[in-house]
Structures are given as structure tokens and as C-alpha cells.
Amino acid sequence: MRWLRHFLATPAGRFVGRYVAVLSIGFLILALRPVNNHLVDPYTTFVAQESKVTLNLFGEKAQVVGQVLTSPRFSVTIFNGCNGLEAILIFVSGVVAFPAPWLRKVFGVVLGFVAIQVFNVIRVVSLFYVGILRPQWFNVSHVFVWQSLVIIFGVVLWLVWVRRYALANTQR
């Protein structure tokens, strides 16, 4: 365990330790039933509504029933884990855990929230069209392609925030 104590005493180790702590607390809060009922479920419906508006821009005649996004050609249910909230929490934990001034962290949280929202709507809409045009590719796109891209997008976004905003004009 000496290597772990040594690692946690370094700036990188402190970041990883704080990141894991913030992330664990955040996910525990999200898992609570009242939070799920009053925050996560309405948020998932909001994501479905956003996707509906985007799909209708392409003339899809989509509707939302609860958390089901449906059109005459295809339907998907947006579950917890597909609503982008978890990706946002993972990014926000990285921002909160990083040693930066609080104002810049707030900016990072807002930036990340908006960027991941947009990214997730693109993901849902693209999966909807994969379901219409190539239904046999839907599972691979859903599980493999887009989930991998969500992780990479979150990390790249965090790196951009750190380089451009968190450490900008500060003495390194």
C-alpha cells in the first residue's frame, strides 16, 4: 500500500482520489429513489423531448410518450444511463476534482453540461436513424460505438477545459 500512499501524495494522485470520491458520492445521490423520481426521470423525458424536436426538424413526425421516442418508422426508449446525465456527472467530477479556481470550475460545469447535452442529442438522433436505416447495426452502434465515443468525448472535453480555461493565465 506504500505505492498508493505515495501516489495519493502527488498532484495526479490527489486528482484521482478526489475524482473517485466526488464521482462515487454523485452516483450514490443519483441512485436514490426520490432523486430518480424527481430529477432523473423528468430529465430523461426532457432529453426525449429535445431529440423529438431535432428529429422533427428532419421531418420525422416524432412524438414522445413518457420516455419513449416514437415515429411512424421507429421507436426507442431512453433509459437511465442513456440520458447523458451519467456522462455529465463523470465530466463534472473531473472538473470539480481538478485544482482550479472555483469560478473556472463553474464555467467548466456549464460548458460541459451544454456540450454533453448537444452530443447526447446527436447520439440519440443518429441511433434513431440507424434503427430506421440499418436496424441490424443498432446494438453495435448503441453499445460499442456511441458508448466508446461518449467516454472519449468526455475526456477530450475535460482536457480542453483544463488547457484552455482551468490553467489559462495562471502560474503553472
Binding site: 505515495h6 502527488t10 495526479a12 475524482y19 473531473g94 490553467l167
Partner: protein
Amino acid sequence: MALVGAVVVWAAVRPVYNPALCACAQLISRFGEYPAASMVVLRDGDALLGRSDMRANSDWLKIPMTQIHFNLVPFLALVLALPKPLGGGQWRRLLAALGLLALSHALGLVWEMKALEALSMGAWSRANYSAIARNVYGTLRYFFNIPVTFALPLVLWVGAYSERVFALVGLPAGESR
């Protein structure tokens, strides 16, 4: 290019990794279990979860193996995106990180198995698992389904390559406080 390389490595190791992961998950699931009846069987790229003492016509839970280990791809892509990822003795750290990632995959399957037994088998579940055990296994399944799967690539990347990642963002990584 890093992403393409990661996908190629993932596709190449999958035929060996899938059966090894299922065997490992079954071994861990049966630890301390009497009778040892938990089964994790690989079929057509899916893990089938069930028990050998269930009726022959019982349904088995099907988990796509891709769902369990897809995060190997973003992790390897992040590693390959760094300059000389294996240089300067970094391969030892990479092996350690890959070991932790593989352990998280095996445990992901184990918690799916335990949550199936504790939550989804009706009266049998209630008779064999306490309310606390049911909550614990449900929570572990949730954590390994989403937070661990999605956050571990970043944690292991920063942990294994702390100097390079922090140099990338312009901070020193190795100084003690």
C-alpha cells in the same frame, strides 16, 4: 489513428478474452457458494447467466459481452494517443492498468450474476438473500454497469500515465506535497 488501433487490438483479443472472462466470473461467483451452481456460459458473443440447479426450461439472463468490456477501446485509444506509450518502462503500468480493467470486467459479470440470484428469482431470491444483501448486490451491479464502466478508462489513464497526462495539460504530476 489511436481509436482505430484500439479497435483492432480489442477485436483481436476478444476471441480469447470472452471465454477467459466468463470462466473467471463463474469461478468468482461460485466462491463460498454451496452448492456451486452459478453458471456463466459464453454463447454467440453473449454471456448467459443462470444456475445449474434450475429447471431445464428456466430462462437465462443474456448479457452482451461487448457491454462488459467495450471500455477497453476508449482506454487503449487514450493510451495510444500518448507519445511512446510503452517507452521508459511504461509497459509495467499499462499491464497493471489492464489487469485492473480486466478485474472490473470480471466483477461486472459477477455482480450481474449475484443481482440476478438476489433480485430476479422470486421466492427463491427472498429465501436465500437478505434485504441487505439484495440492496448491496443491486448497488454493486449499478456501480459496475455505469460509473465504473464509464469512469475507469479516465482514472486508469491518469493513474498509469500521470506524468504524461499532467504534462499534456501543463502541470507537474510527480511532486509530493
